[in-house]
């Protein structure tokens, strides 16, 4: 007798699909070419379920659940794209645009920005909430990299990649609520950081133009994400 394979079968958007028992809805959707928007999630990093863009409807569940942290269950019926979800996603993204100063036309990531691409994909033509226009700082004290807090969306990818992959934990979050911001070490200038290894992983996982390489002008900052799944795979093989 063959051992029972730990596979769960479920329905996503009416399609019969299957996933391993430890996989999330987002994993299974991604393998099957079903697009679910997200900004904080990144393959190779731990999941935090913070951006709330990947919320999906599950039959029999009152609450909307984040696809990035919800593990598949037998017989689940998932809807990833409804009018209601689209409305919420657009509003969340709009709120993000109002929070800081996301001026695409002068941004190093213009044309390569995950947030910009998502806004286009979700059909956001204008933001109907008023902008905050906060005064945010730019820290260019590092030899090779710059952090522009005006473009930061607090997705914490930099914090996670630095801690989980590089093992340096230079990045962290300071403060809370609307005043929260990412910091290096104990809120010291990035250039004086004693823990930073200048590996640049944070720069390349950053979804927006908040982290970029020095010397890049408007629309010139192309991010290379391929290193992450490669690194994770190599490490797993070595274990």
């Amino acid at each position: 007798m063959s051992p029972v394979a730990p596979v769960k079968t479920l329905k996503i958007d009416g399609r019969d699909l299957s996933g391993r028992q430890e996989e999330t809805i987002l994993d299974v959707a991604r393998q099957n070419g079903i697009f679910i928007p997200r900004l904080c999630e990144m393959d190779g990093l731990s999941d935090v379920g913070a951006c709330r863009l990947c919320l999906v409807e599950i039959k029999g569940q009152n609450k909307l659940l984040p696809a990035c942290v919800t593990v598949v269950e037998e017989g689940m019926e998932v809807t990833t794209d409804s009018e209601r979800l689209q409305g919420y996603r657009r509003m969340i993204l709009e709120l993000l645009f109002t929070e800081r100063n996301h001026v695409c036309s002068v941004c190093v990531s213009n044309g390569h920005c995950e947030m910009q691409m998502l806004a286009q994909r979700l059909g956001i033509t204008h933001v109907h909430f008023p902008y905050r226009y906060p005064k945010e700082e730019v820290d260019a004290s590092h030899d090779r990299f710059v952090i522009d807090h005006n473009r930061c969306i607090l997705c914490t990818r930099c914090v996670r990649v630095c801690d989980e992959i590089e093992g340096a934990h230079t990045w962290d979050i300071m403060g809370r609520g609307i005043d929260a911001k990412v910091i290096t070490d104990l809120n010291e200038p990035w250039g004086t950081s004693e823990t930073c290894t200048s590996c640049g992983k944070c720069v390349h996982v950053c979804p927006t133009g908040a982290l970029f390489e020095k010397g890049r002008s408007v629309a010139e900052m192309l991010k290379r994400r391929q290193f992450l799944p490669y690194l994770t795979m190599m490490r797993e093989e070595n274990e």
Binding site: G49, A50, R52, L95, T98, I173, G177, I178, A180
Partner: protein, 175 residues
């Protein structure tokens, strides 16, 4: 409970509302005065037991001001991890402040209602999910007060106003 145990409203003023359950709770109007204080009844009336605390308000309290006070609490207490709560509480507080300063528009009210729905259903934790409660419950029972602030530029309880409202009034004059 309010009148027998609490001793009623001082100085002969009229009872307006009772807020139950702390910052995440709701405001109940005078119709609910004779209701039993238990989990089911409170939930049915649109509030919660929460901490078990009660704040009794008379006609000298403005419900917009009350909603703003609780939203200020939620905005300050938001951890900032998820976007709906982090930015949503900020935007709701901004709108409630604008209403208190008599310079809100009907569009602001629409936005406020949209944000109530968004926060309730998409926030990560209980704080964000229940942050709209004071707004939702005051909108349900005291919509007239919101309307008075926005359309008549008046605060029925005489709480809101001050310098910002005077500036808004002056701006309307010149416009």
């Amino acid at each position: 409970m309010v009148f027998e145990i609490g001793g009623g409203i001082p100085e002969g003023r009229k009872f307006k509302a009772v807020q139950t359950g702390g910052p995440s709770g709701g405001c109940l109007p005078s119709e609910c005065l004779d209701m039993p204080v238990d989990y089911e009844s409170l939930a049915k009336a649109g509030s919660i037991m929460g901490s078990g605390g009660m704040i009794v308000m008379d006609e000298s309290s403005c419900m917009v001001d009350v909603a703003k006070y609780f939203m200020d609490f939620c905005m300050t207490e938001s951890c900032g991890k998820c976007i709906p709560c982090r930015v949503g509480t900020y935007q709701m507080h901004r709108i409630l402040t604008a209403i208190g300063n008599m310079n809100a528009t009907p569009q602001d009210m629409k936005m406020l209602e949209e944000l109530c729905d968004l926060l309730k259903h998409t926030s990560l934790c209980g704080l964000g999910q229940s942050a709209p409660n004071p707004v939702v419950s005051t909108l349900r029972s005291f919509a007239e007060e919101y309307r008075a602030h926005i359309e008549d530029h008046k605060c029925p309880a005489g709480v809101c106003g001050g310098q910002a409202a005077a500036a808004a009034a002056a701006e309307r004059e010149t416009a």
